[in-house]
Amino acid sequence: MEETTREHLALAQRNQRFADRLRFADSNAEHSSLGQSPEILWSVVISFYSAVHYINAYLWKIDRFAPKTHAERTPRVSQDQELTTIAANYTVLSVWGFQARYDPRAHISADDAQQAIDELHAIAELVRRELGDS
């Protein structure tokens, strides 16, 4: 496997583990004045950025394409014959991550964070299979 692809995969996997740890760190979390655990919020955000690197690994391997923005990346996920099967998973992560980052009254539960991790798992599974890394 080429170095750029391998680096994206490594970063994706590192972020995936981090998102998982944060999700379970919530039991000891100090909740904000708004009642939302920052660990839960950031677990969702990091799940999305893990997905970004899985997608980047795939696009580099298949097409030598390195998207610089979400606007360049997201349409490729819906249009690619393989990625389209996980497009809904990716978009859920993208919009949940957006709400977690920008809505000061975001209310994302531990179950939602687990759901985000499950969506990420589906993306990781497909990309690793397509890249021969499973």
Binding site: P75, S78, A87, T91, V92, V95, Q99, D103, A106, D112
Partner: protein
């Protein structure tokens, strides 16, 4: 019929409304153009993840209909917020789309 030209964001939004079985959960829609990418923002009622994924899954149908247009459908789910209105998250110069 497949559109081979670049579609307007309003055409995409209109077609999305035509094919969305879950459109009853759409509270408000906006259209916005960022460079080449047509953005459709939708604030929904509080909806579960399966409904959300069904709506996102329509992207595949939209790309079949408009293969030469880059677009992004952004849902704002009220279930994930204590705010009663998420329109402040929509880009400032987005246009409110008439859903009727």
């Amino acid at each position: 019929m497949i559109s081979t030209r670049v579609a307007t964001v309003e055409e995409i939004a209109r077609y999305l409304l035509e094919i969305a079985e879950d459109k009853s959960v759409f509270r408000r829609m906006w259209t916005h153009q960022t460079g080449e990418v047509a953005e459709i923002w939708i604030m929904t009622e509080p909806i579960d993840v399966e409904t959300e994924k069904r709506i996102h899954g329509l992207g595949r149908e939209l790309y079949k209909k408009f293969p030469n247009t880059l677009f992004d459908v952004r849902l704002l789910n009220l279930r994930l917020s204590d705010s009663p209105d998420l329109s402040f998250l929509v880009p400032r110069n987005a246009k409110l789309f008439n859903m009727h």
